[in-house]
Structures are given as C-alpha cells and as structure tokens.
Amino acid sequence: MKNLPTLFRTLQFVLGMVAALPVAQAADKVTLATNWLAQPELGGFYQAVADGTYARHGLEVTIKPGGPLVNNRPLLAFGKIDFLIGTNLIQPFDAAKQQIPTKVVAAFFQKDPQCLLSHADGPWKTWDDLKQAPLLMGNAGRQTFFLWLHDAYGFPRANLRPYNHSLAPFLNDPRAAMQGFATAEPERIREASGKEPRVFLLADHGWNSYSTVLETRNDLIAKNPELVRRFVDASIVGWNTYLDAEDTDAADVLIKKDNPSMTDGLIKFSRRKMSELELLRGGEAKKLGIGAIDVERVKSFCAKMVAAGMYQEGEIDPTTAVTVEFVNKGVGVE
C-alpha cells in the first residue's frame, strides 16, 4: 500500500502529459497480422510498437502473429484486420487473379531471404548439385517457389520430402537439402549441429520477388489514405531504428513474449544477416527508402511466374497488385 501515493503521482503525471499532447483525437486502432511467429525478420514492426513510433503517428497498433498452423490472410479481405504481412508477391498476385480488393502498399524486404541449405561437409557444393538432393520442403514452398525451381532450373519433383519446421530430418541425413530463411535457419542449424550450412539464396538465382510485403484493403486506401500513409511511414521509421540502434531490447522483449522459443543468439544473428544481405536497404531502397516498390520489377517477377506455369499469359495484371502511392518518398534516407 505504500506505493499508493507514488501510483497517484504517476497517474497525475500521465494525465497531465495526455492533456498536453497536441493530438486532439484519440489514436486510430489498427491490427497488423503477420505471416509467421514473432521474429527479428518482423522486428521493425515490433520496434515501432515498443518505442512509441506508431503512437506518435496517432496509431494504436496490435500485432497478431501468424505461424505454421495460422492463416491470417482471409482476415484481411474479411475486414477483421487492417494490414497483413505477406511472404512474397505470389499471394498478392493470387488476390489480383481472384479479384480480391487488396493491394501491396510497401515492400520491406527488397530481396527474399528464402534459401536452400545443404550440409557444410555434405556432397552438395553448388546450386546445380542441389537438383540431386532430397529436398525438404513444406506445403507453401511446394506450391510457390518450387514450381519456379522446377521450371527455371529443372529441380525434380520426385526429390521433394516433407518439411514440418523440424530440423531433425535434415540433421539426420548428410545428403539432404532443405528450405529455409537465410536470416534464421543457418544459425538454428549451427546451434544444433555446430556447423553452419551452405546457403543458396533464391534471390541470387533470379527469384526477384519482394518479401515481407505490406498489404491492405483497397477501400481503406480509398477512404483513409492518410491512415495508410501514417502506418507505412511509422513502420519504415521502426525498421530504420531496429536496424541501426545499438539497443533494440524493447522490441526484442515483445518478440520473445510472442514467441518464447526465440533466443538472443538467433536475434543477433538475424539482425546481422538482414544488414549484411541488405535485405531492407538494398536495390531501389538505397535511394527511395525502405519499403520501395519498383513496378517494372513486379512485372518481371510476374512474367517469370507465368513462364513457370503458375498463371496463364495475361491472366493477371501485376500492376493492380501493388501501389507506389505510399512509398518511394525517401523516408528515413539521409
């Protein structure tokens, strides 16, 4: 009970602060649903929540994590959430094909960290070697980038093996190869086996999709573009902070709270890799700022997917899947 006066004073202080704020109206409540469990690859968004960046932009943001058994995508079309993180451009293309009124408003990863991994001391040393490997791949990968691997490089379908996010089958077989995120799996494998595996980025072999793309509904863009702009800007600021700051503890605490299996070692590795691989600041983002979208690149990726047999010629207009209205403004570029 001795804390009561302290509590009272704190309350008084907070009330005073709120009264002094220049913002007249209450913060807009928005929900961001992600495509995976909380992880540093989504760190910028957690950072913007943790350090009050969203609040300063007049937003009260709730993050709804995804996961292996969670499909948040239908919630966006339903209007149950306002923003969605998509893994790559395939699903936005599907939305365009199905005439679902949603769009990509920012592309956070200029390069997709999706990669294939083989054992450091295993037989597969080159990209071409991997075509002979039993390839551990989950359901989503099989129906997206594997189709391209098959079409563009002739990876045989017969080599596909089930992948359920467990490293055991890979570690168990020195001849195996598996799918992974370049920012996470190499470290998970090193922690489990002591050796960092060989990493082959799909992006280095022509897979030029953006990754960690931000999607929202067309009607929100039409009715409240101001809110979308604030959310995109604040997320970009959050990402800049998360990549540059010495101390990202506040964001990492939130990440670990949402995903207890996350370790400090994995977070450190992931942040280092995101910088090394210039996932967020490479390509056009160098000049145009984080989140940059180049429509020509979107068209080129779409053409590759058409070639891979995923879509028919002219079936979708890739330009309707994205909008550059909210990015390419150099936010956060010195």
């Binding site: 079309a77 395939i90 599907d94 199905q98 379908r157 089930p162």
Partner: protein, 264 residues
C-alpha cells in the same frame, strides 16, 4: 426396410440438405458476399464442373488412400481382435498400445513416421497415417464383439465338442458381426479424414495431388470457390460412404439384428 422407410431415410436428409443449400444461396446473394469470402452453392457446383479435369484425379488419389487404408484397417483390426479374443493375456498386454496409437495426435507423430518409413515412400506413409486413424474402432469393436457371444450358445458348442475353428466361424464371428459393422461405419469415415490429414502432414504433392493438396493450394491462392469444391467432394465421399455402410449393415443384419431391423 420397406419402400416407405427407404424414402424417408433418403428423402428426409435430402430435403434438409436442399433447404440448407437454398438458405445459404439466398443469404450469400442478399448479403452480396464476394465469392472469395463465401461462394454460393451454385458457384461451388460450377467450380466442380469447371475444374473437373484437376479435381477428378485428386479425388481418385484421396479415395484410393482412403479405401486401401480402410482395407488395411479391416485386415489388421480383425486379425488383432481375433488374437485379443483368443487370450486375455495378449489383450491386456497389447491393448494399451493400441490406445496409445489411437490418441497420439497424427500431426505430432507424422514427421517421425515419415522418417521411419523412409521419405521416398510418400504414399505408403500417407497410408500408414490414415490407417492409424482408422483402425482402432474396428479393433475395439470387433474385440468386444468376439467376446459378446451368448454364454448359452457357448455351452451348446461345448456340448457338441465344437472345434476352435468351428466355434470361431459359426459362433464368434457372426456374434461379432454387428459390432464389427458399427466399427466399420466409424472407421470408414475416419479413413477419409485420415487420408486427407495424412496428405497435409506428409506434405502436399506436386505430382499426384490428392484433395488435401487442392485445399491447401486453393487456400494459398485465395481461391475460395475451389477450396469449397474440394470440401464438397470430401463431404460427398463421406455421405456416400455412410450410406454404403448402412446398406451393407442392412444387407448382412436385416433379418436378425435389432440394429438393422426397420420399424415394422
């Protein structure tokens, strides 16, 4: 089952089904729900026809897994039940493991089954997964059935020095039949569920995809009508299986067992 009761058995659920589908159709149209959120039944039917060249082979793949898994469940379930019924000691020693197999979530053990069986043998793995789901009702029901023979009839067989084989064939097997058929009815639909879940957990297929792959891909591609079309085929399979099992029970039990005797 006479003519009239047959009509009620088929007609009543059909009428309910038709009413539900009509309500669904009307609601989606009135609320103007886009088809990516909820397609109308007519859109689903149209999708089944439009996508038939892709759906039919997928359906066959799932059907094949289901039927082979069910056949294996019958063979192993009945053989094991006969073993259990022949000795209390065997039953007491093994039944807990059968229960264990039954309650272990497939999703959890599937990755290991994949490794044990060998990951080249995808279909065999799916088969084993579906079998695990399907076999228990047959085992437990048949075991119970084999033990349920009337004690008076057992005495009668003893009185006339019946051999073990005669006892099994002429007394225990017919006594167990209604129990076995009740188990089969449950197992048949579990085999279907098992076949679909097994395909999910062992990885959807790029070659020879079953309906689970169709569902997964249509979900991934936000193709809701296609997903509903696949679900409709699974439901249809379940309903056909159910009626097939009812018919089989009727055929085998109608003249003597209470469970299959229609109201007179």
């Amino acid at each position: 089952m006479n003519e009239r009761s047959l009509w009620i058995r088929l007609g009543a659920p059909m009428l309910v089904g038709a009413a539900l589908l009509a309500a669904w159709e009307a609601w989606v149209r009135c609320a103007e729900l886009p088809k990516y959120i909820l397609p109308t039944p007519s859109e689903v039917v149209a999708t089944i026809f439009a996508q038939w060249p892709a759906l039919a082979p997928a359906w066959l793949v799932t059907l094949k897994t289901m039927l082979v898994a069910l056949a294996a469940a019958v063979v192993f379930g009945v053989a094991l039940a006969a073993l259990f019924a022949s000795s209390r000691l065997v039953e007491t020693s093994l039944f807990p493991y059968a229960v264990m197999l039954q309650v272990t979530p497939l999703v959890a053990v599937a990755p290991f089954i994949v490794i044990w069986i060998g990951w080249e043998r995808v279909w065999l793995t799916q088969l084993v997964c579906a079998w695990i789901v399907a076999f228990f009702p047959i085992l437990s029901n048949t075991t119970m059935g084999l033990r349920s023979a009337d004690p008076g009839l057992r005495d009668l067989f003893t009185l006339y020095d019946a051999s073990r084989w005669q006892r099994l064939r002429l007394l225990l097997a017919p006594s167990a039949l209604p129990y076995f058929l009740a188990g089969l009815k449950v197992s048949a639909n579990l085999a279907l569920v098992g076949a679909v879940v097994a395909e999910f957990v062992t990885g959807t297929q790029v070659d020879n995809p079953g309906l689970a792959s169709t569902i997964f891909t249509s979900q991934l591609n936000s193709d809701t009508p296609l997903m509903f079309a696949a679900l409709a085929l699974i439901s249809l399979t379940g309903i056909i299986t159910f009626f097939a099992m009812e018919w089989l029970s009727h055929l085998l039990l109608a003249r003597w067992h209470e469970s299959a005797v229609g109201e007179r």
